[in-house]
């Protein structure tokens, strides 16, 4: 197992390098570039643009930029004042030494912004996933146990509908109903806030934070619940017709115990794998939620960076995202082998 993991990690390194080269070229060769947009808001003279270009190192050829990005530029001289002369040693350490560079927009380290945004995204996603588990597990189990019952048909139809629902549109409708239409009868204010993590300028109160969670979480939950409850239903159906479940029932165990303790444990096995594969979505998958409800998380950070062409930010998020995909794939295989003793890797 150890050997297997090491081999997979070694295989992932060239993959990551190739993907990063492709992405870096794509990001850097795109026309427009980070300085094109700046001309619109604060009109910069062409010579100012040229200075900025030299300061950001955008006058260098792409392969050199990639090398600087990968291993840093503290071993060579760069042009810090933008006069066209390479005057002082660079500061960048490169991503191999954990330095993702500075954002073009804020000029602060990219990794700081990502850290802040990631905190908010993880907060949102953990609440979302907790609620998904609370809803999806009972639904999946019951609709499998009572296959083709009224409950099962209703749930299956609903989840079919849920999968066809465009996520962002659901968000808009939620806003329409709970922010625009429904008012709090006592105060006349909107029933639920339209966005943000909490009311600005108000001291911390759990009620206020919880209120701001309701709509974004609801929007996120629907897609995940339909996906996981369908999945659990089919994996539960595979399990409940096995002999050991009949044995458990023959022993006289209560139905609850048989289904939720004996059968569910095995039915959750494939679900763990699926969940591991879904991990990257926690990182940036709540993009639409964050944009519609102005949630200061990873998705919004990336969206803003894509609009600004903030190369270091884009590359950092893309690289971390790719790593997440690779790691979660590995994790899925490892966890599955750990949970299922029949599976061996050599």
């Amino acid at each position: 197992m150890g050997h297997y993991v090491i081999r997979r990690i070694l295989q992932a390194i060239p993959l990551l390098l190739i993907v990063s080269i492709v992405l870096f070229t794509l990001v850097n060769l795109a026309p427009g570039g980070p300085l094109a947009g700046r001309g619109q808001s604060r009109r910069l003279r062409p010579e100012q643009v040229a200075i900025l270009k030299r300061q950001f190192g955008l006058d260098q050829p792409v392969y050199l930029r990639y090398i600087y990005w990968l291993i840093g530029n503290d071993w060579t001289k760069i042009d810090t004042d933008g006069d066209g002369i390479k005057d002082s040693p660079g500061q960048g350490k490169g991503i191999l030494r954990g330095d993702f560079g500075n954002s073009y927009r804020t000029r602060t380290p990219v990794i700081e912004s990502i850290g802040n945004a990631l905190k908010n995204t993880v907060y949102l996603m953990s609440v979302t996933l907790l609620i998904v588990a609370i809803i999806a597990i009972p639904i999946g189990v019951i609709s499998a146990v009572k296959q083709y019952s009224f409950f099962d048909i209703v749930v299956t139809t609903l989840s079919f509908m849920g999968q066809a629902l465009p996520e962002f549109w659901l968000g808009l409708i939620l806003l329409l109903v709970f922010y625009v239409w429904l008012k709090n009868p006592l105060t006349g204010e909107s029933l639920l806030p339209a966005g943000g993590m909490h009311t600005l300028g108000v001291p911390f109160s759990p009620g206020d934070w919880a209120k701001h969670l309701v709509l974004p979480v609801t929007m996120g939950v629907v897609g995940w619940v339909t996906w996981y409850s369908r999945f659990l239903r089919s994996s539960m159906l595979d399990v409940i017709h096995q002999d050991y479940v009949r044995t458990a029932r023959a022993k006289g165990l209560t139905l609850n115990k048989v289904y939720f303790k004996h059968a569910l444990r095995n039915a959750l096995l494939p679900l763990v794998t699926v969940f591991a594969l879904d991990l990257p979505y926690i990182f940036a998958g709540s993009l639409y939620v964050e944009i519609i409800f102005a949630w200061p998380g990873m998705g919004r950070l990336y969206y803003q960076a894509a609009i600004d062409r903030d190369y270091p930010m884009l590359m950092a998020i893309l690289t971390i995202g790719t790593m997440m995909v690779i790691i979660s794939n590995l994790l899925a295989d490892v966890v599955y082998a750990k949970l299922d003793p029949r599976i061996h890797y050599d």
Binding site: I18, L23, P31, F168, W169
Partner: protein, 275 residues
């Protein structure tokens, strides 16, 4: 069921030209009309008839869906077929490329590519927004088709009839295209059908974010994007395009499900009462 709903949508979309209104010309005397007899879905900020725009938008959205399907088939089927048929190092190389493509965080790259292609005219795409967005979505979706096709070819190439055909002197290309393909295509058709639904959702999302189809050309996504501003006062602008996306995606999914059952020999026998 699915066929009927989808049929109605397609018919409406094709007949959109019969509408008395122009999808792009504004008429400021009738701004923000609520739904009525003369404007069944109301009018938007520039006084354009929303129904007409939704139908024209449907052309774009459905066309993107179909183009994505064609693109994923054009890339995925040859790669999967060649990898599965020849095996060995060819298989290895092609599957590593597929793995690399699968390792990309798809939503992020989707946004990046469409943000780039919004400003640049790529060759072959000729600045055609529908083709561009379809190419972007297709480039990030062919891997599933390729894997599916590869798996079928791996199994089928071992069958006796393939050996017999080879003994008769058929070329590899002929075996791949004429003899194995018809037997491998079942699951691919199901997958491609669902791909259309997926592409419609992706396109609407991208256009909603402003990275997809650009106004004044309507698409279901950018209609919703415009509607966000007016959500408070003129909610119908946000409701109707979303309902259209929902209806077409759900009907395509139902059709895909039906096709899956139709291609599943066990299910067919079950229906005929043989099992």
């Amino acid at each position: 069921m699915g066929c009927i709903v989808l049929g109605c949508i397609v018919l409406g979309v094709i007949l959109a030209g019969l509408s008395p209104y122009d999808p792009t010309r504004s008429d400021t005397s009738v701004r923000f009309q609520p739904p009525s007899l003369s404007h069944p879905m109301g009018t938007d900020a520039l006084g354009r008839d929303l129904l007409t725009r939704v139908l024209y938008g449907g052309r774009v959205s459905l066309l993107v869906g179909l183009s994505v399907m064609v693109i994923t088939l054009l890339i995925g089927v040859p790669i999967g077929a060649i990898a599965g048929y020849f095996g060995g190092w060819i298989d290895n190389v092609l599957m590593r490329i597929t793995d690399a493509a699968l390792a990309l965080p798809s939503l992020l790259v989707l946004i990046l590519l469409s943000a780039i292609l919004r400003e640049v005219e790529a060759p072959f795409l000729k600045g055609n927004p529908v083709l561009t967005i379809a190419a972007v979505i297709g480039l990030l979706a062919w891997m599933f088709t390729a894997r599916l096709v590869r798996a079928s070819y791996l199994a089928i190439r071992e069958m006796d009839y393939v050996t017999a055909t080879r003994a008769l002197g058929a070329s590899n290309l002929r075996i791949i295209a004429l003899h194995i393909l018809p037997n491998a295509i079942g699951p691919v058709i199901v997958e491609s059908t669902l791909e259309v639904a997926y592409a419609i959702l992706e396109e609407s999302g991208l256009s909603y974010l402003g990275f997809g189809i650009q106004p004044p050309t309507p698409s279901w996504g950018n209609l919703l994007s415009n509607a966000t501003e007016y959500l408070q006062k003129y909610p119908w602008l946000a409701i109707f395009p979303g309902v259209m996306i929902f209806l077409s995606v759900i009907s395509i999914n139902y059709i895909g499900d039906g096709l899956r059952d139709a291609f599943d020999p066990y299910k067919v026998l079950q229906k005929m009462g043989e099992v």
